[in-house]
């Protein structure tokens, strides 16, 4: 069987995924932004793994799906998690709490925010992880051109968690605020409310969300959980729980493909 992987890099989790699938006898091709051409020539694989959520990988995913080639995870699921407006509304719809979000130009913020409105977190509209993320304590922290629309989230003060899940296995870690997935994190036993939150999130996708992570903040003042960032395909760098993430991901993806094929 021929499997394509859409990924911004060939190393790290993608490299390990390739090794895992090759060890099971499959032919693997990795498409990065250097060699991905999105046209009929892509339709030569049995299915694709959508590792990265860059716009062009998402385009490729939608193109493949429209042409009957399965893509795991589904492009729509990855897109919803990549686009902060979509993920925010989806979380609300499911009944999860998210920080208030604001969009506007720097001039609008200057006119309408007062000192007590701060702090905020500035984030790119399309993105995940900590890239482009910055705490905004005053208007002076915002540097942008006049017409650019900026995305701000109300800053939630509290304990920051990264919560991985692979299948039914949940792995909860405490992390430094605004850090990326790769800093050292402290494993804790998953609290019941986090377990419930992850179950709610996964259930919404009706079996299509095989793995992923949520960044969550427990607000200091009222213990409430806020989801601040979802991720459809983390590197699982800090997985400190049972089993090998790569073996389990490989297994879940292949099972999903067999299920799609039968359908």
């Amino acid at each position: 069987m021929n499997i394509g992987i859409l990924s911004k890099r060939t190393t790290m989790l993608t490299g390990r995924l390739k090794n895992c699938l090759e060890s099971k006898g499959f032919n693997i091709s990795i498409y990065t932004l250097d060699n991905l051409v999105i046209n009929q020539n892509l339709l030569n694989q049995d299915f694709y793994i959508l590792k990265s959520k860059n716009l062009f990988f998402l385009y490729a995913g939608y193109f493949l799906e429209a042409n009957g080639i399965p893509v795991i995870p589904k492009p729509d699921i990855s897109f919803i998690q990549k686009h902060r407006i979509h993920s925010n509304f989806l979380m609300k719809k499911i009944g999860l709490t998210t920080p208030e979000i604001y969009l506007g130009t720097i001039d609008t913020f200057k006119k309408q925010f007062s000192v007590e409105d701060f702090p905020f977190i500035l984030k790119p509209l399309m993105g995940s992880g900590s890239k482009g993320v910055k705490i905004i304590r005053t208007l002076k922290d915002l540097n942008s051109k006049g017409k650019t629309i900026l995305y701000l989230e109300k800053f939630v003060k509290g304990i920051h968690y990264t919560v991985y899940f692979i299948g039914d296995e949940i792995c909860t870690l405490i992390k430094p605020p605004l850090s990326d997935e790769h800093v050292d994190m402290k494993l804790i036993e998953t609290p019941d409310d986090i377990q419930d939150l992850i179950t709610k999130w996964r259930n919404y996708f009706n079996g299509d969300l095989l793995f992923g992570h949520l960044d969550i903040v427990r607000e200091e003042s009222n213990n409430k959980l806020y989801v601040v960032d979802p991720g459809s395909f983390p590197e699982f760098t800090n997985w400190k729980c049972r089993g090998s993430p790569i073996e389990n991901i490989c297994k879940l993806i292949l099972e999903k493909y067999e299920y799609i094929k039968k359908k």
């Binding site: 999105i38 385009y59 609300k92 130009t105 609008t108």
Partner: protein
Amino acid sequence: MIKIGILIDKYHLENKVTEFLEYIKSKAEITIYIEESYLFNSSKFDFDEDLFFTKAKGELILAFIKLIEEESSIPIINSYKGTWLAINRFLNSVFLKKAGIPLAEFSLNPKGSDPPFRDFIIKNIIDQKNYKFKPIVNKVNGRLNVADERALNEVDKTDPKYNYLYYQKFIKSKWEYKIYGIGEEVFFYKQLPILVNPNKTESRKKIDDIPELKEYCYKAMEVMDLKLTSLDFLKSKDQFYLTDINCTPNFNYIKDGHKIVANYLLKQAKQ
């Protein structure tokens, strides 16, 4: 009195809707939300409009449309889906082709990788900003190579910066067909292609209905969930090819276009 909210940017407000606003303000209570000066807050929802009309496609407007759709049943023209697909050129090409509408061949390639057809036109990836099509024409090794300045800027110079180019097969056509869909009504015009005459209004003329194009227009509106659109077609060897679709058409090109659009919105608001 009917209440209509208009989501717009400064460019459209200053240049494209003067007559429309004058007319619709005499029929309905209008609130204007301008992208460049509006503060979007996800937890604030106190709108009591009967309908929203979008005349922009920037990020804040998209978020606003999403908010209306998620938090209310207020109709919004055009929808989030329609606007999002219309600005993502490659995605709308994929979905319209799947729906059976004949499209000029297209390919999305990293810079430096040639498309699988001889003559081509390079277009911008995300059609979100207000900008006129500025063609740069070259003949390279006998291949006709037309590029939109915006597309090249995206790759080489300014934001947004991508490593990709959207290639569309170049279709040689005597006329460019401009089709406007406003609800159930379809309007037909033709003009010389912009490469032949850059002044697009000079040669523009109203033409009789073309049933085939009418069918494509309805199909495209259905697939993309657009109530208001304009489509560009070229014709080669008796075959039409869709080359562009727009979610914020300039209805001033249609005779009494501002009234037709306003009356359509008022009718939808009453339903």
